[in-house]
C-alpha cells in the first residue's frame, strides 16, 4: 500500500511537472491538447524515474544479507515520507476542485494562496519529506535510494526541457 501510494504521488507529481515545463511556451488560446500531452509526457518520464528507483531497491534487496530488515526499513521510510507528501498532494487536489467553480476571483485566489506558494515550497517539501523518511531507518541503502529519488523529483522538469526538441520549442506557430 505504501509503495502504491508513493508511486501514485510520484506519477501525479511528474504529470504536473510536465504541465509546468510546457506552460509559458505556447501562445495559442486553445491548448488543452498541448497541456494534456505535456502531462502525459511528464507522467511517462516519471515512470522511468520510478523504474530506476525500483531497480535500485530491488538490487539492494537482492544483495543484502538481511532482506526482511531492509524491506522493513524501506517500508518505514516510505510511511514517514507519506506524512509529508500526502497532505501536500491533498491540498493541491482540493485546490483543483475549488478551481472548477467558474469565478474569476475564486480561481485567482487558488493561485495566489495555494498553487503559487506550494509550487515555491515544492523542493523544500520534497527534501524535508525525504529526510524525515530516511531518518526512520538511516542506513546506506535508504539514503542512496532517497538521494536518487530526490534528484529525479527535482530534476525532472530540467530533463523534460532537454527533451523538448528544437522543432517543438515554438512559442508561436511557424510562418506558413
Amino acid at each position: 500500500m505504501i509503495a502504491f501510494l508513493l508511486w501514485l504521488l510520484a506519477t501525479l507529481d511528474a504529470g504536473f511537472t510536465g504541465y509546468r515545463e510546457a506552460a509559458g511556451r505556447n501562445a495559442l488560446i486553445n491548448k488543452r491538447l498541448y497541456y494534456r500531452r505535456a502531462m502525459i509526457k511528464g507522467a511517462l518520464f516519471g515512470q522511468i524515474a520510478v523504474g530506476i528507483a525500483a531497480v535500485v531497491i530491488l538490487t539492494s534487496l537482492t544483495v543484502t544479507p538481511d532482506r526482511q530488515s531492509l524491506l522493513r526499513d524501506y517500508d518505514q521510510a516510505g510511511a514517514r515520507m507519506l506524512i509529508f507528501y500526502l497532505p501536500y498532494a491533498a491540498v493541491i487536489l482540493v485546490a483543483f476542485l475549488v478551481r472548477w467553480i467558474p469565478s474569476v476571483d475564486i480561481r485567482s485566489i487558488t493561485s495566489t494562496t495555494i498553487f503559487g506558494p506550494l509550487t515555491l515550497i515544492r523542493p523544500l517539501v520534497a527534501v524535508v519529506g525525504l529526510v524525515y523518511g530516511v531518518l526512520a531507518a538511516p542506513r546506506v541503502a535508504t539514503i542512496v535510494v532517497g538521494l536518487i529519488v530526490l534528484t529525479m523529483m527535482l530534476g525532472l522538469e530540467k530533463v523534460l526541457s532537454l527533451f523538448r526538441t528544437a522543432s517543438r520549442y515554438r512559442h508561436i506557430p511557424p510562418r506558413s
Binding site: 509559458g24 501562445a27 488560446i29 485567482s108 493561485s111 510562418r175
Partner: protein
C-alpha cells in the same frame, strides 16, 4: 494640472542617454510600445521610501525586488515617433542607465543580451526574447483569468452602448496589445457578440506579426495592426488595455487619458496591477515560480512595485479625460480587506453610465463611485 505634482521630486536617471523619442517597451501585461516625440525625462524612483516600515524595506532587499524604474523592456527597444521605424539601441548606454539608477540586477540582465559588433542590441534576438517573455506573461494571464476578467466588464460596457444605439460595429481596440492575448481570448470565446470588432494595436512589428499569426492559426475573428491605437483610420468605441498604465509616469499618464477624449470614444477599460503592500511580494512569488526569462522576472516584479494606487488613476483619468465619468473596479475581494492582484479603471461618456450600472448586476458592489 499635474496630479502627481505633490509627489517626491524626480530622482535618478541623471545619465539617461539623449534620445529623440521616449520609448516604452513590452510590459508584464500584454505588451506594448508607445512612442512620444519628446526628450526622455529622468525617471522617478518608485521604490520604498524611508517612511516605509523597516521590515518592508528589508524584505524588498532580501528578495532582491527591484524598486527603481524603468523596466528593462522599456529600454531595449526604440522606435522613431513619426516613421515608427526601429531605432538602434546601444547596449552599453542601457547598462549605464540602470547602473546610474542603482538597479544592478537590471544592468546584469542587459549585459547578457546579445549585441552586434558595434554594440547595438541585436534586434532579432531582442524580438525573439520579447516573444518568449510574452508567452510567459500569457501563462500568468491565463492563470489569473485575464480574458474572462476583461470580458465580464467589457460586456457590461458594450450592452450599455447597444442600449444607447451606438453605431455598429462596436470597435474595441487594445492599446499596446503585444502578442494579443486578451483580444485573441475574447475572439476565441465569442463572448462579446457578433457586432463587436476586435483590434489590437502595437508599435512593435514582431509582436504584431506574432499576434496575427496566432490568430490565423486558430481562425480567430480579430486583427492586429502596427501603429498608434489612437490614430487608427477606424477609431475605437472602446479602448482597452491590460498591464500598461504603470508604464506611464506622471504627465505621460495624463497625456494617455487626454488621447482618449475623441469624438468616437464611448468608453475605456484599463486593467493593471493593484498597488498594495503585498503586491511586490505576491508578484515576486509568481514570477519566481512561473517565469524563466530573467527579464520577465525583473520587469514583472517591478510592474507591481510601480503600480498606481486607485486614487492616482482616478485623478489622472478625471483630469486627462474630463468628459468621461470613471471609477475603479475591484480593489477589494468580496468587499473584504483582501486586496485583489489586479484592479481596473473603467470610464465612459456620462450618457452610458446608467445603462452600464444596470448591466453590472451583482458585480456592482465591486465598482467604486462612478463620476
Amino acid at each position: 494640472m499635474n496630479p502627481f505634482a505633490s509627489k517626491e521630486p524626480n530622482e535618478g536617471g541623471r545619465n539617461l542617454p539623449k534620445r529623440t523619442a521616449r520609448r516604452f517597451g513590452l510590459t508584464s501585461g500584454t505588451g506594448w510600445v508607445l512612442v512620444l516625440s519628446r526628450p526622455v525625462k529622468p525617471m522617478r524612483k518608485v521604490g520604498p521610501k524611508t517612511s516605509d516600515p523597516l521590515l518592508f524595506r528589508l524584505l524588498l532587499r532580501a528578495l532582491s525586488i527591484p524598486t527603481t524604474g524603468p523596466e528593462i523592456s522599456d529600454r531595449i527597444v526604440a522606435f522613431d515617433s513619426e516613421t515608427l521605424e526601429r531605432e538602434p539601441v546601444g547596449k552599453q548606454s542601457v547598462v549605464e542607465e540602470f547602473l546610474s539608477l542603482e538597479n544592478r540586477p537590471a544592468a546584469r540582465i542587459v549585459e547578457q543580451l546579445p549585441a552586434q559588433a558595434n554594440g547595438i542590441l541585436d534586434p532579432e534576438a531582442i524580438d525573439r526574447l520579447l516573444i518568449r517573455v510574452h508567452c510567459e506573461m500569457q501563462r500568468v494571464s491565463e492563470e489569473f483569468q485575464h480574458g474572462r476578467r476583461v470580458a465580464e466588464l467589457l460586456n457590461s460596457i458594450l450592452e450599455a452602448l447597444r442600449a444607447n444605439h451606438v453605431s455598429r460595429p462596436l470597435r474595441v481596440v487594445d492599446i499596446g496589445c503585444g502578442t494579443g492575448f486578451v483580444i485573441r481570448w475574447l475572439a476565441a470565446n465569442s463572448s462579446l457578440g457578433g457586432d463587436v470588432e476586435l483590434i489590437g494595436a502595437d508599435y512593435h512589428p514582431a509582436l504584431v506579426e506574432a499576434a496575427t499569426r496566432l490568430a490565423r492559426v486558430e481562425k480567430l475573428s480579430c486583427r492586429f495592426v502596427i501603429g498608434n491605437a489612437f490614430r487608427l483610420a477606424e477609431p475605437a468605441a472602446v479602448y482597452l488595455s491590460t498591464g500598461i498604465l504603470h508604464h506611464f509616469r506622471e504627465d505621460d499618464l495624463l497625456e494617455l487619458f487626454k488621447q482618449h477624449d475623441r469624438q468616437s470614444t464611448c468608453a475605456f477599460l484599463h486593467f493593471d496591477f493593484h498597488s498594495s503592500a503585498l503586491a511586490p511580494f505576491g508578484s515576486w512569488l509568481f514570477h519566481a515560480v512561473r517565469m524563466r526569462e530573467p527579464l520577465a522576472k525583473h520587469d514583472g516584479v517591478l510592474s507591481a512595485v510601480r503600480a498606481y494606487a486607485p486614487r492616482e488613476l482616478l485623478l489622472a483619468a478625471r483630469t486627462g479625460a474630463p468628459d468621461f465619468v470613471s471609477a475603479i473596479y475591484g480593489t477589494k475581494l468580496w468587499g473584504l480587506p483582501i486586496p485583489r492582484a489586479f484592479h481596473s479603471l473603467v470610464g465612459m461618456r456620462p450618457q452610458y453610465r446608467n445603462a452600464f450600472i444596470a448591466n453590472m448586476g451583482s458585480k456592482i458592489g465591486s465598482l467604486g463611485v462612478i463620476e
